[in-house]
Amino acid sequence: MKKRRWRDFGLAGLMLGPSAAVLSLFVIYPLVKAVWYGHQRCDASLSKCRTTSWHQYIDAFRSNEFQDSLIVTLKYALITVPIGLVLGISLAVLADKHIKGIGIFRTIFSSTVATSVAVASVMWFFLLNPSVGILADWLGGSAKTPGLLQKQGLALWAVSASSIWANLGFTFIVVTAGLQSVPKDLYESAYVDGANGWSRFTNVTLPMISPTLLFASVVLVTRAFQSFGEIDLLTAGGPKGETTTLTYLAYGQGLATSNDGGLRATVSVLLFFVLLILALVQFRGLEKRVHYGN
């Protein structure tokens, strides 16, 4: 019996080796090391460090900058995820009919998936630019002076618009796939029961695609919490830190963290814990879905 257990040991080592090496060197070790650096204050290149205390984590967590960023990030997720989902679902439902030319519409609706964060952000940067942007001219008012991306109270919404648009293709594709997996006879029977369009949607479609929606929202929430490129390219965290998300706080240019590798580690480990809590919450949701699948 013992021999059987050890039978494939060498081969398993060979097969797991590459993954194990990469994951331990570039995921596990850096995480542990980051936790360690997190109670030190260093120079920017991490070559000169001095240990403070583990209290640095608590200080950093309670600091104005971290708290502000946490709220910004939550707001950003609360804006982008629901609006993005509703728009994605609407487009998918709208295009979920076998009518002439639907292929073109579907391609257009999925097209934003081809734009990376950098591409989408640069596009929106110019659309919203108060001096050369066509949207700024159309909207006028604050969009013109000082410009949506510069206007306190609106900048986060402007970044959200860019990100919602950029993610629309993804949401559309995922929801469309979900819709196509809904058995047609369910609609038939609802129709026979006299349910109108809206009630068919709420009673049949929504429950049936809820696993898909959950998946889409998990992805969108994660993207919102890890947003960096759109902030970097659109607002650089401004105006007055209103778009400084947690990731940007850790890695943005010219912030308190960019001069101090230790502080950057502190913030990134805190970010890890925030994401961990989020993941566990989402995991509970996913668990439910798996039960349903069974």
């Binding site: 059987r4 257990r5 494939d8 398993a12 797991l16 590459p18 993954s19 194990a20 090496a21 990469v22 994951l23 570039f26 995921v27 596990i28 070790y29 850096p30 995480l31 090391k33 980051a34 009919k97 076998h98 639907i102 519409f105 391609t107 257009i108 609706f109 999925s110 934003t112 998936v113 081809a114 990376s116 964060v117 950098a118 640069v122 596009m123 929106w124 110019f126 659309l127 630019n129 050369v132 066509i134 648009w165 993804f170 594709i173 995922v174 979900g178 047609k184 068919r200 696993p211 890890q226 490129g229 970097d232 390219l233 890695y251 580690a265 990134s268 970010l271 890890f272 798996v290 699948g293």
Partner: protein, 275 residues
Amino acid sequence: MAIDQVTGARRIGRYTLLMVAAVIVFFPIYVMLVGAFKPGNKVLIDRLLPTNVTLDTLRQAWREGNLGRALWNSVVVSVVITVAQVATSVLAAYAFVFLTFPGKAIVFAIFLATLLVPLEATLTVNRHIMQQLNWLNSYRALTVPFLATAFGIFMIRQVFLTIPKEMREAASMDGLGHFGFLGEVAVPLSRPTIGAFALFSFLTSWNSYLWPVLVTTKSDYNTVQTGLKALKLASLDRPNLVIAGTVIVALPIFVMLIAFQRQLIRGLTAGAVKG
């Protein structure tokens, strides 16, 4: 099929809605396309009409942004990462499903736990490692930390689990070793999932932004994403040049979108596959 039929006024209504939605969604792309074909001093004239069409702006963006080099870098980096991730994931997944060894559950749990560690938590130290190794500004820095991912291992393990154990036993009787079974049975049976994962992995590395920003200081190692950032920073006074740059950078993925639409859908919904 009664409810699928759309007739008369409702049909016109739906087309109208579709048209409106399509115009709105496509609008930013359209504006960029129009801008990319305009000469520098005409960007503010006819922003919605393709007048004064020229290819000069695109050519100039290509040259000044060194976008040819950036595209090549992105292709190399993304292909290397994708191939490696598929290989390492398939091997590891196989070990977890078809091999017997002590501590399997614990090892798997540790692997899985790395999924919970976001890239952002490890970047500072990883950048430091790259610096210590003197790997900054190299393909190694851009690829090596990403040659394996627990996500791929998990996804492929799920599909390997659906292969009946009896098949392995039968193959074993036929004298087929583990690698033979892997290559001739397990992988071919899992091709759709592996393909979806490959596409997912390609897109993720193609779109990667923060890491390349951190580990490169030479424009020779710009990927398309950081190349676009550099072009934006270097040429804000010439908006049309940057706009042309975005068009060039977005184009390959647009082509991919159209060519691999079905796989792309699978790739994007990869996480949603049952399990």
